[in-house]
Point group: C2
Chain length 211, copies 2
Amino acid sequence: MSAVVKTKIRVILADDHPVVRDGLAAMVNQQADMEVVAEAGDGEEAIALYEQYRPDVMVLDLRMPKRDGVAVVQRVLELHPKACILIMTTYDGDEDIFQCLSQGAKGYLLKDAPRQEILSAIRAVSEDRPYTSSQVAAKALQRMGKPSLTQRELDVLQLVAEGRSNKDIARRLSITEGTAKTHVKAILTKLDAISRTEAVAVAHKRGLIHL
Amino acid sequence: MSAVVKTKIRVILADDHPVVRDGLAAMVNQQADMEVVAEAGDGEEAIALYEQYRPDVMVLDLRMPKRDGVAVVQRVLELHPKACILIMTTYDGDEDIFQCLSQGAKGYLLKDAPRQEILSAIRAVSEDRPYTSSQVAAKALQRMGKPSLTQRELDVLQLVAEGRSNKDIARRLSITEGTAKTHVKAILTKLDAISRTEAVAVAHKRGLIHL
DNA sequence: GCTGCGGTCCCCCATAAGATAGAGACTCGG
DNA sequence: CCGAGTCTCTATCTTATGGGGGACCGCAGC
C-alpha cells in the first residue's frame, strides 16, 4: 500500500440490474489496477454520479429506467468531451451500436463477453483507446450505407409497431391519412420491407425501435 | 468450520452472461448458508450439470443458447420431479411466467430484483416453498382466463411476426391462403387485436413470441 | 439567388388483409 | 357413440395497404 501502487483506474458502473452490477464490481475490484468508485441504477443517477466522481471509465448499460444509455452518452460527452464510456449491453442492433459509437462512446461490448474481454476493454478505454469486439464492429459496418430515417419517420414507425392503422396514425400525429401513407411508404423503402409488419421486424432487429 | 455449520444450500447457476453468473456467485457465496457448486452457460450444460451435482436449487435464466429456459425446466423436472428451480430473467411476459410456473418451477424473479429478494427467493425455493414476487404473480394472474393459441396458430403467428404475407405463410405451411387467413383471424380474435401488426405487438408483450 | 431535404398534401390503382359464414375430416375424452 | 376442439377448405364482400406518380411550402447551406 505505498509507492508501488500506481493510481487505479476509477470505474463507475451503470446498470439497472443489481446482479450485473455485483458481477462487474466483483470482477473489477479483484484487479490490482482498477476499482469501482460508484454504481448507478438508472440513467439520471449515472449522469449525476459521473459529475460527482469524474471517473476514468464509465461502464454503461443501454436499457435503463429514466434515461436510456444513448441519452446518457450524449449528455455526459456534452459536459465532458473527454469522458471514456464503455457500453456493455445485450443489444446488438446496428442502430444502437452506430448511435453510441458515432456519439463518442469509446467502446461497445455485449454482455455475453467473457471476463477477460470485459477487463481488457475497460483498460483500453481508460487509456483512450477505442475497444469494439469484432462482431460488434461488423454490425457497425453493416449500418454504413443504409439510409437513416428522419425523426418524423421514426415517430410513424413507432406507431406502426404498436399496430396502429394509417388512419389512426394520422389522427395521433394530426396529419392527413395520405401523409401518414407517404411516411409509411418511405419507411418501407428505407428498410427494404414490403409490408408494415415486415418493417417492424426489420426495425426491431436493427434496434431502430424497442418494443 | 465444524459442528455449527449446517449443510449449505447447494446452488447451480445457469445464465449465458458470465457477468451475471459472477454477480450471483458473489452474492451467494457471501452467504453462510449457501454455496454455488456449478455454473452453466447454456441450456444443455444446465441439464448435464444438474444431473451431475443434484443441487438443492437451480437458478435459471430463460433466454439461453442451445435450449431455452422453459425446455430446461421441463426436462429437469421430468427427470427429477422434486427439483427446485428458480427462474431469474428479464422477461416479464405473462406467457413465459405461466409456462414456467405451470410446468413446476418453484419461483420466478426478474433480474432487476434487489439482492435481498434474490437471496430470500433462493432460501424459500430450497425449502420447497414457492416464491414469486408480487408483480410477477400479478402477471401470471393476467394470463388466467386469456385464451391460449393452438400450436398451428403459434406457427402462423411466428411467420406473421416475421412480416410474411398470408400467401407466403400458406406456401410455407403447405396450406391454402384461405386457411392461413382463418388462422390469422383466430389469432386476431384471441389476442384481441385489430390488425396483424397489433397482434405481433401484443404477442411480443405477452411473451408468446420472441423476436 | 438556387438547390436539396423534409414535411405535408393529392391522385389512381392493384393487391392484401380482414370480416363473415358455412362445412368436411380428424382426434380425444366423456 | 357423440360432442368439442382443431385443422382444413370454400366463397363473398369491404376496407386497408402498398406502389407509382406529382406538387407545394419552409428552411438551411452553397
